[in-house]
Amino acid sequence: MSDSITRENNLRKILDCISESVASSDARSLWEKIREEMQSGGPDAALQYLNDELTRCKNDFEREITCLRETYSRRRLNE
């Protein structure tokens, strides 16, 4: 049977292929993390990781803008 349709190899080949083609360090580290999550918990775990990271970034943004708004509002209240 052809190697290309052997179950055991296909997924690994795809994963390896991406690892080889990822150029930027950000994308590489993200891909390594996705791959790690995929291997331990499947696509759901990988997606959960991405969701968590995006939520963290969003929360950082929300915190910063809220802080800025509050600082500015306090200034205005003192007027």
């Binding site: 795809i14 991405l50 969003k58 803008i65």
Partner: protein
């Protein structure tokens, strides 16, 4: 056959479609062949197995209800056994329910989830990609094959099904998060715009103050200078209101305090002056009223006196030197004479009448002889006396009337004198001096007027003093506000140029992460497509081998896997479709509808036969259901089919239904030893009971 996977041991069917009475088929883990004429219920058995394991797939579940007893529950029970394991799968479709309900219990009767019992099957989900291929009867119009999504099945066979799932979810995630990113960017832009708007407003206010600078013509004072001015004003005001200036106040608070003090001071001073002025005005008004009343009364007295004097003159002229007593005596006398004359005249008239009527010789009163001449009527007697009396009486009356008027005048005069006396006391009270004259009242009024004017001047001075103070306060306030606006402008400019960078960087980090996810997704898609592209040719070759063996089609003799274009923007791999090729037209592939029905239906079985060689080890339940395969294969190829079925039977449990028992049975006996087969002949069908089975 391996005993690692579950095999059907027994099937129990009741109230399912045409099967009314309960039917049990003992399979004992062997391959099941159901042979019998069309319409006897073979397909119902095949469908009951599929329904029990996977439920309804797309069509209305109500179709499984028994035709004659729809009010009874439809039920199929399958006993599965593998090595030391056993499962009881029961699916019940209760009357009134909209969906059927499966229950899976183990040997001990403990409930087990489908995911735990058949994890691989549960992951694939019915109907796509299950290893159950179900070529239903054409006549029944039912679904032709269970393998609908060839792409999904192929990904599963290649063990890369997680990648399209990941790609699809990555796309959904990035789509959702892009929308979220837009909302985040908008909130940042809105905030920046709000700041810019406020900046413009504050700049405008600052410019407004600069147009009429409260600090005068000099240069803009520093905040320290302004604070010094405010402090000075603060202490000045504290001294003015006699207060101890509170310590530790901000400029703003000091200005508030100054304003408060100034307001209190001005209003108390003004109230005091106004009260005083009002009091003087009341006194002045009273004095004026007293003066006016006094003047009026005196005028009345004078007028009354004049009148009296006129009346007295008139009386004197009427008396003509006489007294009223003399005149009355004259009246009495004249009256008496007049009365006598009147009586005589009456008597004379009576005597004349008597003599005329009776001609007497003697007086009837005294009997003295009467003279011969007649008594004449008194001529003009009393006329003078009457005139005299009238004249005297008229004079008396006139004098009496004048006297009456004089008395009235005297009374009025007396009351006016009393009034005057009272008013004189008022005047004294008003001036505060005994024997005050009207002149003094006038003087008092003038004094009061002057005092009132002076108080009004004081009020004006107090007001202008207050205005001056307020102007100074407002100037300091404007100056202080100017500094505040200046600080605000600097603060907003700092937020816009520096502080806003923090959330902006957080947004950029979000953006970058999202872009990295998309980049990784695209790489994943590329790698996936590459892997699929490399898998397609050998796979197509194997599919062609099995297809050719099953059909021996003269024109379309090959199988191809056509791949549609991938959509990188949606992270979507190109869909895969099973097509046929012809050696007569190399390089081209054709959709399966170019095949006749028989070859097309045979083609649906091909992927199963190809893939089952190497994925069966994964499956907990490896079962092939084929309904009427002879309909898809002509006699010449039926043996080929049996050969293929025999080869997969090493790992698969077959359930084959055929209406061509005569053609099938010899082949079954040839390829399947007696200990591996369970042949059931369906010999009759009673619409009220169901099929009649006979074990062969």
């Amino acid at each position: 056959m391996s005993n690692q996977r579950y095999k059907i041991q027994k099937i129990g069917i009741s109230n399912f479609r045409g099967i009314t009475e309960g039917r049990t088929i003992e399979v004992a883990g062997k391959h099941l062949f159901l042979l019998g004429p069309n319409g006897f219920g073979k397909s119902t058995v095949v469908e009951a197995i599929r329904w029990c394991l996977f439920g309804s797939t797309g069509q209305q579940e109500i179709e499984v209800r028994n035709t004659f007893y729809p009010s009874k529950a439809s039920e199929v029970v399958i006993n599965l056994v593998a090595d030391n394991k056993a499962l009881n799968v029961r699916r019940l479709f209760s009357p009134g329910a909209s969906r059927s309900r499966p229950t899976i219990t183990d040997r001990d009767g403990k409930d087990i989830n489908l995911e735990d019992a058949f994890p691989q099957i549960a992951r694939l989900g019915p109907p796509t990609g299950t290893q159950v291929i179900f070529a239903a009867q054409h006549a029944a119009g039912r679904q032709q094959a269970e393998i609908q999504d060839f792409s999904k099945v192929l990904y599963f066979y290649l063990a890369i099904e997680e990648i399209p799932e990941l790609l699809e979810n990555l796309h959904k995630l990035t789509e959702e998060r892009r929308a979220e990113r837009e909302a985040m960017a908008k909130s940042l832009d809105d905030f920046a715009q709000e700041l810019r708007n406020n900046l413009a407003v504050i700049q405008g206010k600052k410019e407004e103050i600069s147009k009429n600078p409260p600090w005068g013509k000099g240069s803009i004072p520093t905040r320290t200078e302004t604070e010094r001015k405010i402090d000075l004003l603060f202490h000045d005001m504290a001294r003015l209101v006699d207060e101890v200036p509170p310590a530790d106040l901000s400029c703003h608070e000091k200005l508030q305090k100054i304003e408060e003090w100034s307001g209190t001071f001005a209003s108390s001073k003004q109230e005091h002056l106004r009260a005083k002025s009002d009091e003087l005005q009341i006194r002045r008004d009273k004095a004026q009223i007293t003066k006016d009343s006094c003047q009026n009364t005196r005028n009345h007295i004078d007028a009354t006196k004049n009148k009296k004097s006129e009346l007295e003159d008139k009386e004197r002229s009427l008396l003509k030197g006489q007294t009223l007593k003399d005149l009355r005596a004259q009246v009495e006398e004249a009256k008496k004479a007049y009365d006598e004359d009147s009586l005589r005249s009456e008597i004379m008239g009576l005597v004349a009448t008597y003599r005329d009527n009776y001609n007497p010789s003697h007086c009837p009163a005294c009997n003295s002889a009467l003279a011969s001449e007649k008594v004449g009527k008194p001529q003009g007697m009393g006329k003078d006396r009457c005139s005299e009396l009238e004249e005297i009486t008229r004079r008396v009356n006139e004098i009496t009337a004048v006297r009456g008027d004089i008395d009235l005048n005297l009374q009025s005069l007396s009351s006016l004198e009393k009034e005057n006396e009272k008013l004189t006391k008022d005047v004294q009270k008003t001036t505060g001096k005994i024997n005050s004259t009207m002149l003094e009242v006038d003087h008092l009024i003038q004094e009061l007027d002057s005092d009132i004017r002076a108080l009004n001047e004081q009020l004006k001075d107090a007001q202008s003093e207050c205005d001056g103070r307020n102007r100074r306060i407002n100037e300091r306030k404007a100056e202080e506000r100017f500094h505040y606006y200046q600080e605000q402008v600097a603060a907003i400019e700092k937020v816009l140029s520096k502080d806003i960078e923090v959330p902006r960087n957080a947004l950029a980090e979000y953006d970058d992460f999202l872009a990295t996810i998309e980049a990784v997704g695209k790489l994943l898609l590329e790698a996936f497509n590459k892997q699929i592209d490399s898998a397609i040719p050998p796979l197509a070759e194997r599919l062609t081998g099995v297809y050719a063996k099953l059909t021996g089609h003269p024109s379309y003799d090959g199988v191809a896997i056509a791949k549609q274009t991938s959509v990188p923007e949606k992270m979507e791999p190109g869909r895969l479709e099973l097509q046929v090729t012809s050696s007569k037209c190399p390089g081209r592939s054709f959709p399966v509808n170019v095949l006749n029905g028989q070859a097309a239906r045979a083609l649906q079985l091909v992927p199963y036969f190809v893939f089952s060689d190497y994925w069966h080890n994964l499956m907990e339940l490896d079962l092939l259901l084929v309904d009427d395969p002879s309909e898809s294969f002509d006699t010449s190829h039926l043996e080929n089919l049996m050969q293929v079925l025999h080869s997969v039977a090493s790992h698969t449990q077959l359930v084959i239904a055929s209406h061509e028992g005569d053609r099938m049975l010899p082949l079954i006996e040839k390829y399947f030893p007696i200990n591996e087969r369970c042949v059931i002949a369906v010999i009759d069908f009673d619409p009220f009971k169901g099929p009649t089975f006979e074990q062969r």
